[in-house]
Structures are given as C-alpha cells and as structure tokens.
C-alpha cells in the first residue's frame, strides 16, 4: 500500500506521456490490488504518520493546544474510490496519447494531469479532514490549470478562473464546517481517540459520537450545511453549479477526468464520508435531499436544448451528481457512492466517445454533425452503450445504481413526507435524461450524411483512443453487476455496516423499477421520434415554448446574474473603496500636511525677537501646565486611579 501511495505521489515529477501512462497504470494495479485486499479482509489500514502541526497543550483542550497528524488510511470506502480514480485515470491517460498528440505544452499537460490524479488519490486516503482539505484544494488547483490549459483563449482563461472562484466559495464553507466539527468534537470529545490522535477523524472504525449526541445541537446542523456547501461547490450542485458547463473549455480528456473520477467525485465523497462518520441532523438531510433532487431535475432541463455535445454531457453530470447527493441526504451514503462508481465509468465513456467525434471533426456543434455511425462504428456503439447506461436501461450499469437511489429515497418517503417533491423531480429527470442523451446520439450518429459538408471526413482515432473506449464500455455494461460479487458487496457493506446503515440494494421495488425503465424507454422513443434518422426538430418561432427554450439556453440566467453580482457589483464597491482610500483617507493626510505647513508659518512669525513676547509665551505655557497638573491630572486619577 505504501508503494501505491508513493507511486501516485511521485508521478507528479515525471514528464512525457508514456511515463505518465505507465505510472498511472502501475497506480491502477496497486489501487485495484488494495481494493481486492480490502474486499478479502475488510478493515482499516494506516501507514504513514507525520506530525504536521503541533502546538503543545493539554490534550483535547483546544485553546491551549492543537496537534495535527497527517497520515494515510485505507478502508472499504476509500478502496472503492481508489479503484474509480486509478482505473479512470489510467484510461484517460492512455487516451490522451492519441487525443493530445498535436498539442503543444504536453509536458505541462501530463504533469498537471498526474498531479491531478495524485491529489485525488491523496484525498481519498487522507485520515483527517484537514489533510482531506489540503488535497481537496490541490484538486481544485489542478482543475484550474487544466480547464485553462488553452490559456491563449480568453474564454478558457475566464472559465478556469470561474471554476476556481465558485468552488472557492464552497471551500470556504467547508473550512468553516471543519472548524465547527472540530470544536464540537473537541469539547464533546468522545473516547480517548481524540486526545491521542489530535485532529483525526478516525473514519472506518466506530462512529465518533453516540447517535444520541449526533444531531443534538445547532452547531452540528450548521456544520452539516457548511460541509454541504463545500460539496456543492466541488460537485457543482445548485446554486454553485455554474462553473461546470464552462469548464468544457478544457481538453475533452480533462472533462472526462473531472466529471468521472476526480473533481466532482471529491464533493460527493466528502458528503458520503461526512454522512457516515459525522452524521447529519434531520434538517441537514432535508436540505441535502432538496438540493440533490432539485439539481437532478434542474440540470437535466438545461441539457434538453443545448447544441454542444460536451455541454449536454456536462449537464448530465450535474444531474447525476444530484442523484448521488439525493441518496446521501436520504441516509444512504453507500448507495450514493455506488452510483458514483458506475457513473464514473459510463460518464468517462461518454466523454471519450464525444472526444473521438471532436477529434475527428474539430467541432462540438451537434447540428453540424450527423450520419457518423458509418465512419465511426466503434465510437457510435460506445456512445450508445454510455447513453443506455446513463438512461438506466437494464442491464447496463446505470440502471442498477440509479434504481437503488430511487428506491432508497422511496423507502424514506413514509417517514419523511417532505422528501416527496424532490423524489418526484428526480423521477421526472429519468425521462429527461434518456431523452437528451439520445437526442445527442441521434443528432451526431444517425442519418446518412453529415449536416455541415465543410467538415473533414470522419474517421476513428488511433488504437490508443479505441482501447479505452472498449475498456470503459465493458465497465459501463458490467459495473452495475459487480454488486452481485460477494467481495464488492463487502466493500459496500463494510462502509455501510460501520455506521449502522442497512445496505440498500436488494430492497429495490420491482414496480418502481418498471416505471423508471418505462420512463427511460419513453424518453429514448421521443428522442428517436423527433431526431431519429437525421431528422431535425425545430420549434416554430411563434410556439409558446420559445421563451422556455431561450430560458433554458441561457441557463436560467444564473451565469448572467452571478457575473453581474461578482464582476460588476463587487468591482464597483472596490472602485469606490479605492476612491475613498485615495481621496478621503490620503486626502486627510494631505490636509494635515497643509495644516501643519500653515501652522509652522504662523509659528515662525511668533519668533519676533522681542523679549516681552517670549515672556508672555512662557507665562502662558506655565499657566497651561499648571492647569493640566492641578485640574486634569487629579480628575483622571479620581476617575480611573482606583483600579
């Protein structure tokens, strides 16, 4: 395991695509081995322990002391994540060799991509929240670099900045959440684990607080909301979702990584860890369910009209992350992670398939494509498999996990009627999901010819781009079935059993599954009807749906609004402050300067040279001094002297 850790960390120093590929392959092997080991004998393995920050004090009492030990921890949940990160990471690296070969700045690309994966692996195996936060920020930094990889493009530079700043808002909330949890546990301190380990959330052994203490105070409620804020920033949940579609400015490989295994997965992972080992209050849970359910629906609506192939998939990511958040909020963290696991593979597949198309044609506009299924058979098949998995058609991976999400939330509706509207939203999103992803498929691949004849003739990429598609297709078909393997069950159970949360799969409601599959099939059918076989469906200009379409295309005007507040509003305040600084504060200084200048001018005239004048000054000065000594000083002493 140590090799795995050092391996992943060392990769940042390596340059050259193949070295990076080889190392990420090695990391994949190690990651999968760790997961196998974990599946065989579940438990917690701690390796490295480094004292990072130590201010002495009585153990456990914060005002006097604070110790932070950085270390690694592998437990069932983190080994599950390791598989996702290392497998998807390796596949994307391999694909990059083909996809990026004509770009400049390749050493930078591979170095940043490696650091990205290393940071994500570090995050997964962190043994405390501060270390988690450290890697969390590094993940954010790498996505900033990679989204802005084409830094000459103003839109890319702007999107990178936007991603960093929007997630930074979430990070700030996360940090405050850490403080809140910290002080809660430092005072309500449980078993000696706290004092001995300093700031270690020993996740994976026993829950820190007895369930009776959990959810008892406002502090914990606020802390939960803050953690949610952090997760919402990273995982692009409403209302911090705006950065993710713009993050499409990066290379497609980066999008695949961000959307499947690294950046956005970090938020969901945080939420799952927090839910399992810190616990949420019922109010927190409701907020999380609301955010997740609403985002699942809200993002899906925006994907329905978009003409850009990458952005359609981007919205689908936001929507699917909503499902994960929904499940975690409803109390089924492992179900959320299970959906994260399957989603990682089919989402990476969709992005890499889209990348093949973009690589071949050089455009992302769906309305310029068409008829690609003949020249690009493999890509068309891969995209279709990814789409079926995303839509939730059995036996593809997405079906199993999405079904689990819906049925687990459904099982809570009796106890929490307030979840109903969000459950309905998530259910409706199933239909939309199936519709928009097959709209994209039909637009790009069906028909007999390409719509924009100026585009170059389509062709498949080199083998390094095809192999990843095959690997990921296999996962997209089969990953959902993993759940029937006893070892994988052990991983899910190992995490779930810890916090006393029952495993959710197997409780699937047959009726519910049938309805959701029918909805998905209906969505695909509608897409085929409107867009199939090269057809293009367009709304009449007079249609009542036109304003709605515009609203969706403009993303509900969120971006415009945020730009207005962020760029215009804050900058105006800042300009005003600068003006105040220059002319009022500094102006006062200059005023004083002039005043002293004038005074010294007067004083100079007092130097008259006449003895009588000086005598008068001396007498006046003495009188003043006496006045101070006799009147002011006794007053001050009488007023304050006693204390």
């Amino acid at each position: 395991m140590i090799i795995g850790v050092t391996g992943t960390r060392l990769r940042r120093f390596e340059y050259g695509g193949w070295i990076a590929v080889a190392l990420s392959g090695a990391a994949m092997v190690v990651g999968v081995l760790i997961a196998f080991g974990e599946a065989m004998s579940p438990g917690n393995y701690t390796n490295v322990q480094i004292t990072w920050f130590h201010v002495a004090g009585a153990p456990g009492t914060f005002p006097n002391g604070f110790t932070l030990v950085m270390g690694t921890l592998v437990d069932p949940i983190s080994s599950l994540m390791l598989v996702v990160v290392t497998v998807v990471g390796f596949v994307v690296m391999l694909y990059s060799i083909g996809y990026m070969h004509h770009d400049k700045g390749l050493p930078r690309y591979y170095a940043e991509l490696s650091l990205f994966l290393a940071a994500m692996n570090g995050l997964v195996i962190s043994n405390n929240l501060i270390e988690f936060f450290l890697f969390w920020e590094l993940v954010g930094l790498c996505s900033y670099f990679l989204i802005g990889f084409y830094y000459e493009k103003p839109s890319a530079a702007s999107a990178a900045k936007e991603a960093f700043l929007v997630t930074r808002i979430g990070d700030i909330m996360f940090l405050l959440g850490i403080f809140l949890y910290f002080s809660h546990y430092a005072t309500a301190g449980p078993n000696g684990g706290w004092a001995a380990n300093g700031f270690v959330f020993v996740h994976g052994t026993t829950p820190f607080l007895a369930p009776s203490i959990r959810g008892s105070s406002t502090l914990i409620t606020v802390a939960g909301i803050m953690i949610l804020g952090g997760a919402a920033g990273k995982s692009a949940q409403f209302p911090l979702h705006v950065w993710l579609p713009d993050a499409m400015e990066g290379p497609t490989t980066v999008s695949a990584l961000i959307h499947a295994a690294t950046m956005v997965a970090a938020g969901v992972y945080l939420l799952a860890v927090a839910s399992l080992f810190l616990g949420f209050t019922s109010f927190d849970s409701l907020v999380i369910v609301a955010i997740g359910g609403f985002t699942a629906f809200f993002a899906a609506t925006m994907a329905v009209v978009h003409p850009d192939i990458k952005r359609v998939i981007a919205y689908s990511t936001i929507s699917q992350l909503g499902y994960m958040v929904l499940a975690i909020g409803a109390g089924f963290a492992m179900v959320g992670l299970y959906h994260l696991f399957t989603h990682a593979f089919f989402k990476a597949l969709l992005f890499l398939a889209a990348g093949s198309v973009i690589h071949a044609l050089g455009t992302q506009d769906l309305f310029k494509m068409g008829g690609l299924k003949k020249p690009m058979k493999l890509t068309a098949a891969a995209f279709a498999i990814g789409g079926l998995a995303l839509a939730g058609i059995p036996p593809f991976a997405g079906f199993w996990s999405k079904d689990d999400v819906l049925s687990s939330v459904y099982s809570q509706l009796g106890a929490h009627p307030a979840y109903w509207p969000f459950f309905v939203m998530a259910f409706a999103a199933v239909f939309l999901t199936a519709y928009y992803i097959f709209r994209a498929w039909f637009l790009a691949f069906s028909g007999d010819r390409i719509r924009d004849p100026t585009l170059p003739a389509a062709h498949e990429g080199p083998w390094v781009m095809q192999v990843p598609l095959v690997i990921l297709s296999a996962f997209a078909v089969g990953a959902g079935l993993f759940v029937f393997l006893p070892g994988f069950q052990g991983l899910l159970l190992g995490g779930a059993g810890v916090a006393g949360i029952p495993p959710a799969y197997g409780t699937a409601d047959v009726f519910l599954s049938a309805v959701s599959v029918l909805l998905a099939a209906g969505g695909i059918g509608l897409a085929a009807l409107l867009w199939g076989n090269g057809r293009v469906f367009s709304l009449a200009d007079s249609s009542v749906a036109q304003p709605l379409r515009r609203l969706l295309l403009h993303r509900y005007y969120f971006k415009v609004g945020y730009d207005w507040i962020g760029a215009k509003g804050v900058y105006t305040v800042s300009r005003a402050a600068d003006f105040f600084d220059r002319y009022v504060i500094d102006g006062t200084v200059h005023g004083l300067e002039r005043m002293f200048g004038a005074m010294s001018d007067r004083l100079r005239r007092m130097q008259s040279g006449l003895v009588s004048d000086y005598a008068a000054y001396i007498v006046a000065g003495l009188l003043g001094l006496f006045a101070i000594l006799l009147v002011v000083a006794p007053f001050l002493i009488a007023r304050f002297g006693g204390s």
Binding site: V55, A56, F62, P154, R168, I172, L176, F182, I585
Partner: protein, 491 residues
C-alpha cells in the same frame, strides 16, 4: 559558549561598512556578507537553547543571551542586552533568506551599486538588531536605523515620484516611532523599572495598574501599528512601494512590516497583558477593518505593485487578528503568517519588478497574454499568487489556517469575515493572472524578454522556501513553540 549574537552583529556591521566602500565590487561583498550571515543563522538554529532539554540562565526564556553594561548611573541602567527566542529566531531566518534573495535579484544594479548594496545590508542589519535587542534603547536605535537606509533607497533609487514617497514614508513612520518611544519611556519611568532591560520592563509592566497599561498599550499599538500598517494609517505603504526600487520593496514588505508585528508582540502584548485585554475591542476592530479594506481595495488596483501592497495590508490584518486572539495557537499563527507573508510578498514584489523590466509597465490592463513571451515570469507570478491566496502545500496555508482556527475558537462566527474575504483575495490574484498572463498577447513590447538568470535565481530561492515550509510547517512551528511563551492571558 561563544557570544554568537555579538559575532553576527559584528560581521554584519563589518560587511555593511565594507560594502559601502567596495565600489564596483559591492555586490560580491554583499553576497559574501549575506552568505556568512546565513551560515551564522544556521549556527544560531543549531545552538538554540530553546529546544527541549536546554535552559538558559541569564534571561529566562531567551537563548544566546548576552548582556554588557553600557550606561550605568544611579537611577538608570542601560545594558547592551541581546537574546533570541523562537519568535525572533524565525524572523531572523526570514531576514537571512530575504537578504540573500535581494542581493541576488539586484545583481545588475548599475546606479551607484556600492550605495545600493550598502543600504540593503544596513536595512537587514537594523532588522536583525530589532529582532535580537532586549533593551529599550537598543531596540529603538535599531528600529530607527532601519528607517534611514529605506528612506534613501526610496528617495534615490526610486521611481519618478520618489521624493514625495520617501518623505511620506519617513514622516509617517517617524511620527509613529516617536509615539512608540514616548510609550516605552513612559512604561519605564511610570513603573520605576531599574533598567531598560526586557526582563526588568517585563516585570515592571505587569505591575502597572490596568488603566495605565491600557493607555500605554494604545500608544504602543499606534506606534507599531503604523508599521503594520493598520487602516486608516496605511496610505504611506502603497506610495512607498510604487516608488521604491524592487529591492527596497522586497525589504519593505518582507521585513519592515514584520518589525511592527514583532514589536507589538514583544514589547506591548507580552509586557502589558492587562492593557492589551482592555484595548482588545479596538484591536479587533482595526484588524477586521484592515483585512476587509486591504482585500477589497486590491481588486480595484491597476498597478501590480499597488495590488500587492494592498494585499499586504490584508495579510498583516490577519496577523493582527491572530495576535489579538490571544491564545498560543493564535500567536504561533501570527508568527508563521509573518514569515509566510515575508517570503511571499517579497516574491510578488520581485515579480512586479521583473514585469516592469520586461514590459516597461506594471499596469495590469496594459499587458495581456504574456505567458508565451515570458514563461518563467508567468510561473513565478502564478506561484506567488497561489501562495498568497493561501493554497495548501504552500506556506500561506498552514499560517492562515491556524490563524482562522484560532479566530473561530475565540470569536465564533465572526470568522466569517476573514474567511469570506479569502474569496476576494483569490479573485484579485486570479483576475490579475488572467489579464496579464493569459489570453491572446496584447501590449507586449517587441523587446520584451523573460527574466534574466539572477532575477530568476532570487525568486527561485523564495519559491523553494515557500514549498518547503508549506509542506512541512512543523519545521517552523517547532521553533516558535520551543521557547516558553510568557505573558499571554491564559498561559
């Protein structure tokens, strides 16, 4: 035991004098001096008796202490007393790092190099003296000794408006020094301390009544605060930075601001704990004001140097906040943050200087897309920006993190103010990067060149330390907490 601190002072003095008279070879002498200084600082670390298991007899709590009688008359004892504890040791390390980096960075200074390098040496000498002096008169002597070389550095080697800036700097900080001196002398005479030594003053200060302590603390707070600088007494800083030569800016931001923080901790907070406690509302208010004001005003700046200058006000505001929190973790955070800011702001001022050399302007909106032309400069700018906005694994993070944690512990939800401001800080740095270095090339003169080797080396030294202490902050934290921290409420 060797009188190590006296030896260091003597070598610095000799080196400074030699630099002034070295003519065109001044830079070699300066480099030699600062190298020797760095080696001596390494010795200081090795023989630091604050490590667990050591103890020092002469001045409790201080290592390497020496004391020699200087003026002894019946009612007044002035001694030459020096010593270091964990706090001063960390700041001395900062001095050594910045001295070497500045000398290397300004390697090709052609305008009267002997004078330039001599003044740089003198500034560092003064700062070292302030950090080791444990006697009020010597402390003040060194304190003022820093002002003079900086005045000339700005006034002679500075930009077009240098005379105004130099004068403003001098008058502002000198008024503050006078108030501070009056406060310190009043402290001695009011309390009837037998000598000007720190230990005597320390004991005497604790014996004063709360009211007197409160008034004295306010005077000292103003005196040290102007150096910080605190809002609203900060307007000398942007002007001084804009006009100062790069080396001057580096020392000004990296070392001179730290004098204020160090003085406040050593001579005001430790010595007058009761007064500090009474005046806390003022201190907190000023700290929050500086944090918010510095960051918000930064966003509007077009001159890169002004931007960094205002971000300094923001960071030093966090230092003040961490001091005001009054817990041991807050104190550690304050010292750590001073060190971090010293390194990072120095790096950013070097970046500003190199940008000025490369593009002929520091106007952020006049230049765009510079990365292909000046990749190294762009990398250094990115590293400095990220470190300054508190990215983990760089030195700013452990410092800011512990400062904010301490603030949360003391003030609760008020911590939202500095936390929220972190977003603005990130915004103005990233926006600056986007405008100057990303996007299509714009406004770059054809003769623009990347940083020369010596400028790159100067910045490289700083980046190395930024990463080293960012990954392993315990290296510094262990030094800071090694000495007993006296005079804090609750300790």
């Amino acid at each position: 035991m060797l009188p190590l601190l006296s030896i260091v002072l003597a070598t610095l003095l000799a080196g400074t004098a030699a630099t002034f008279f070295a003519g065109t070879r001044a830079r070699w002498v300066a480099l030699a001096t600062s190298s020797v200084f760095a080696v001596e600082v390494a010795f200081l670390f090795l023989s630091f008796s604050g490590w667990p298991g050591y103890s020092s007899a002469l001045v409790p709590g201080f290592s390497e202490s020496e004391s020699y009688a200087w003026i002894h008359i019946s009612w007044m004892h002035v001694n030459f007393t020096v010593g270091v504890d964990g706090i001063s040791l960390v700041l001395i390390l900062l001095t050594a790092i910045l001295q070497i980096a500045t000398v290397v960075y300004s390697w090709n200074e052609t305008k009267r190099p002997a004078g330039y390098f001599g003044l740089v040496m003198l500034t560092c000498l003064g700062c070292f003296g302030v950090f080791v002096a444990l006697d009020i008169l010597f402390f003040f002597l060194f304190w003022e000794a820093v002002l003079v070389p900086m005045f000339f550095l700005i006034g002679y080697w500075g930009g077009p408006n240098r005379r105004y800036a130099a004068l403003k700097f001098f008058v502002y900080t000198h008024v503050a020094s006078i108030v501070m001196l009056v406060g310190l002398l009043a402290l001695v005479f009011y309390s009837g301390a037998s000598s000007f030594d720190y230990s005597a003053v320390y004991a005497a200060g604790h014996g004063l009544s709360t009211v007197v302590q409160a008034f004295l603390f306010l005077a000292l707070f103003f005196g040290f605060g102007v150096k910080f600088p605190i809002v609203p007494f900060h307007t000398w800083l942007p002007d001084a930075h804009v006009e100062a030569p790069t080396g001057g800016s580096v020392l000004l931001a990296g070392l001179l601001l730290k004098l204020g923080g160090y003085g406040l901790i050593r001579w005001a907070v430790f010595v007058l704990p009761a007064g500090f406690h009474v005046d806390l509302p003022v201190v907190f208010f000023v700290a929050f004001l500086s944090i918010v004001w510095g960051s918000v005003v930064s966003l509007a700046q077009r001159d890169l140097k002004r931007l960094v200058a205002f971000s300094s006000i923001n960071h030093m505001g966090i230092v003040l906040l961490a001091i005001a929190v009054g817990s041991s973790i807050g104190l550690v955070a304050a010292v750590l943050l001073m060190f971090a800011h010293g390194i990072v702001s120095a790096l950013l001022f070097m970046v500003s200087g190199s940008a000025h050399h490369a593009f002929g302007t520091r106007d952020i909106s006049a230049v765009g897309g510079a990365t292909p032309t000046t990749p190294a400069l762009s990398t250094f700018a990115m590293a400095g920006s990220l470190a300054s906005l508190g990215l983990p694994a760089l030195i700013g993070f452990p410092a800011e993190f512990s400062a904010l944690l301490a603030t949360w512990d003391r003030l609760g939800y008020w911590v939202f103010i500095p936390l929220g401001i972190l977003v603005v800080t990130a915004a103005f740095y990233l926006w600056m990067m986007q405008r100057m270095f990303f996007g299509p090339p714009r406004g770059i003169p054809s003769e623009a060149h990347d940083v020369p080797w010596f400028e790159g080396a100067g910045m490289g030294i700083l980046v190395v330390f930024t990463v080293l202490f960012g990954v392993l902050p315990s290296l510094l934290v262990n030094v800071i907490v090694a000495s007993p921290i006296k005079g804090f409420p609750g300790t």
